[in-house]
């Protein structure tokens, strides 16, 4: 009896193990037989039959992690489709290509000026690509960005990760764009996408400009100053600066406190008005001597005027390009009657008036007054 019982249990256990056997599958590949892709660039090749040029940067692991010692392998191919290109690239390398650590996607400038939709859809569809990966535009093309090996890089691709991520540099000129946000903006009514522009510099990369896109292609490239102002208005980025001139001295205000409020109204005559109020508080980094005791109010007023002027100029420039990266349209939808709001907004936006006010408060003048 008991022997029978034990053997029955044993049999069940055995059966359970037999069930587990086929589940090893072929999914498991050891880490040293994998090639980790750290960045992908997608360019236009100029070839009609194979329009995409896919470049991948593969990280080569090394025992030493020292700045500048990292090694990368660049593989590039022209293909009809992006996914096809990647599959062919798999045959060019000896290890399994793994996209799980790919955190930067660089679209070539030419591609971004044509159509980014299919490239974005491909990225969002692939399950192994992170939705929080960064997307950017590379100038003149994506491949040259990937080929650059920055001096200070500790491991492959790290410079770009740190540039866009929040762990490394926190520059007010850099505006990272994540993949899921790009996809959201491409689909959303009243919110248009943007992509930062990467250029190669002597020791690394320059990322201080922003491309504004309609749903498909680049419409406007902001200058570095405009990019900073864009960040300040949209994300209330502190650790940024506002500048003006006062009595032939340039004055720089390092922002420590920034609040932007705005309201969109529909005027009785059918036109729209956007009233924006910008509160700025900060410390002086450059300026005339005795600024706090003698000229404080004057400088504050001057700073405020310049901020208002620049903001209106930027908003009008964006308006003329016909894009809405600051999601004013979404705000209009959020505050007006739902079903008709977006159509109304599309009529309003081209003739929208901007009314910008600012209050500037200089909190200190640094270590000298």
């Amino acid at each position: 009896m008991s022997i029978y019982k034990i053997s029955a249990r044993f049999l069940c256990l055995l059966l359970a193990f037999v069930i587990l056997v086929p589940t090893t599958g072929c999914g498991f590949i050891d880490i040293d037989k994998r090639f980790f892709v750290v960045a992908i660039a997608i360019d236009k090749s100029g070839n009609e039959k194979k329009p995409y040029r896919v470049t991948i940067r593969l990280s080569i692991p090394s025992s030493k992690t020292e700045p500048g010692m990292e090694k990368s392998q660049i593989e590039t191919i022209d293909a009809k489709e992006i996914s096809e290109g990647l599959r062919i690239l798999k045959s060019h390398v000896d290890k399994e290509i793994d996209l799980g650590h790919c955190k930067v996607f660089v679209l070539g400038d030419e591609l971004a000026r044509d159509d980014i939709t299919s490239a974005t859809e491909w990225m969002i569809r692939r399950r192994d690509i992170q939705s929080s990966a960064f997307v950017a535009v590379g100038y003149p093309d994506g491949m040259s960005i990937l080929k650059k090996m920055p001096l200070s890089e500790r491991y492959s691709g790290n410079t770009l990760f740190l540039t866009f991520g929040s762990d490394g540099t926190k520059s007010s000129f850099i505006r990272p764009e994540k993949l899921f946000d790009l996809f959201r903006r491409i689909n959303e009514n009243g919110m248009d996408p943007y992509l930062p522009l990467i250029r190669v510099s002597k020791n690394g990369y320059e990322v201080d400009q922003l491309n504004l896109l309609d749903k498909k292609r680049i419409r406007l490239l902001l200058s570095p100053d405009e990019t900073q102002l864009f960040n300040q208005i949209d994300k209330e980025t502190i650790n940024s600066t506002f500048k003006t001139t006062y009595k032939d001295n340039s004055v720089m205000l390092a922002v420590t406190d920034l609040r932007v409020q705005y309201k969109i109204q529909r005027l009785p005559d059918g036109r729209g008005k956007l009233s924006m109020h910008i509160h700025i508080g900060g410390t002086i980094e450059e300026g005339p001597s005795d600024i706090l005791s003698l000229h404080s109010e004057e400088v504050e007023r001057k700073l405020g005027q310049d901020v208002e002027k620049n903001t209106i100029k930027l908003l009008k420039r964006i308006q003329r390009a016909g894009v809405d990266p600051l999601h004013f349209g979404l705000r209009y939808r959020a505050t007006h009657k739902s079903s008709t709001a977006f159509e109304e907004w599309q009529e309003l936006y081209p003739t929208l008036q901007f009314d910008v006010h600012s209050t500037v408060r200089i909190q200190s003048a640094g270590r000298i007054h």
Binding site: I19, F180, F183, E188, N189, M191, A334, T335, S339
Partner: protein, 397 residues
């Protein structure tokens, strides 16, 4: 015992955060989902209150025993069969859907039925345990997983990536009249009380359910989160384009200083645990309902030797699940889910009202004295001696 009720409630609410409910609601986001959710909060809370009040009058007895008190045997048998099917279907469907999701996201190289083999075997083991063991299992799992789920949700809401304007824009559709399928989806969040159908057997005679105000509070919190957080992340339009919107939302978050940067994997592991627990509990309820169909069945809430019937029924469930993996995919699942959500809402509403009517005449104080002396007295979970007795009774049957 109070807390076990809430574990069950939290388990179902959190599980439905991810499966079916968001996709149904989000597809109707501009055509009535917002107002439906408000209706669902009221309906869901009232159903939960009604059902728990009814069951509270018969502590120590599950729904099969309560039905037998008043109804002729053939009706009882029929109703029990329906309930057994409902529980089996709900839990198996959750398991199937999650297995497919796991397969798509985590192990695309593995055939999907193969993954089902592993998860199903775990559920067979879980569901054949005694009711009491399952409650303990539920306690441990929920205590371990709830902080992680709340962490992900909290992290989600705190992120600067959330577009609050999109959330407000969708919330403005509140004046669109509610729809049946959205209400049905919304009320599913509140259905944790259904597990009391069997677990009520473990309630001691003096049992009083306290803190029922937590039901609308927690339920509506989860319901609003499951709908609005994905909208915050993916906007009002793109949110509908994702097959697994919550997996996608979790993937859009990052933990820079976590062990794994992608929140998705944490989220999948947490929901793997929740799904296995939910399916085990659901199959267990179904097994108990099926076995209760026999009038001579004497239930035990705690046993040391697993009855053979449990194994057999569970294995049949497992077989059905494996077989269905060859037929079902995301599209069919979505269609079945929508229909099924509506069907189950009506069954649950009917059950709650029916139970309330059935137990109306019986004052609560009466119930206490009665259930101790009743034939099903071995309901008191702690009395091990009694369970042996009923084991014999079962063997005779």
């Amino acid at each position: 015992m109070n807390r076990y009720f809430y574990y069950s409630f939290v388990m179902v609410a959190m599980l439905n955060l991810m499966l079916f409910v968001p996709s149904v609601l989000l597809s109707e986001r501009t055509t009535g989902a917002v107002s439906s959710m408000l209706v669902a909060i009221v309906v869901g809370t009232l159903t939960a209150y009604a059902a728990t009040s009814a069951l509270a009058r018969y502590p120590g007895r599950g729904v099969p025993e309560i039905l037998r008190l008043r109804l002729p045997e053939w009706i009882v048998k029929m109703i029990l069969a329906i309930y057994a099917f409902m529980f089996f279907f709900a839990s198996s469907f959750a398991l199937i859907a999650f297995t497919i999701l796991l397969n798509r996201v985590l192990t695309p190289d593995l055939p999907v039925w193969n993954l089902m083999l592993i998860l199903g075997v775990l559920c067979i083991y879980g569901s054949t345990r005694s009711s009491m063991t399952l409650l303990f299992m539920m306690e441990i799992t929920i205590l371990l997983l709830t902080p992680l789920v709340l962490f992900v949700l909290f992290k989600g809401f705190r992120s600067p990536d959330v577009a609050w304007n999109a959330i407000y824009a969708v919330a403005r559709y509140v004046n669109v009249p509610p729809t049946l399928s959205s209400i049905a989806a919304g009320t599913f969040i509140f259905t944790g009380y259904t597990n009391m159908a069997i677990f009520n057997r473990l309630n001691p005679p003096n049992f009083r359910l306290k803190g029922r105000w937590l039901i609308p509070l927690f339920g509506s919190g989860i319901l609003l989160t499951t709908f609005f957080l994905p909208i915050g992340y993916h906007g009002t339009m793109a949110v509908d384009r994702y097959t697994y919107v919550w997996a996608q939302t979790a993937d859009s978050m990052t933990m820079s200083f976590g062990f794994i940067e992608r929140v998705l994997f944490l989220f999948l592991l947490v929901y793997l645990g929740l799904t296995l627990l939910y399916t085990s509990v659901g199959w267990h309820q179904s097994i108990e309902f099926l076995r209760s169909m026999s009038k001579s069945y004497r239930f035990e809430v705690d046993f040391s030797k697993t009855p053979k019937a449990n194994w057999w029924i569970s294995c049949v469930f497992f077989g059905i699940c494996i077989a269905s993996m060859f037929v079902l995919n995301e599209q069919t699942n979505q269609i079945i889910a929508e229909r099924w959500l509506i069907f189950r809402m009506f069954v649950e509403l009917a059950t709650a009202i029916f139970l309330l009517v059935l137990t109306r005449k019986r004052p609560a104080a009466d119930a206490m004295g009665d259930s101790i002396g009743s034939t099903q007295g071995d309901a008191m979970g702690d009395s091990k001696g009694d369970s042996k007795k009923s084991a014999k009774g079962e063997a005779k049957a």
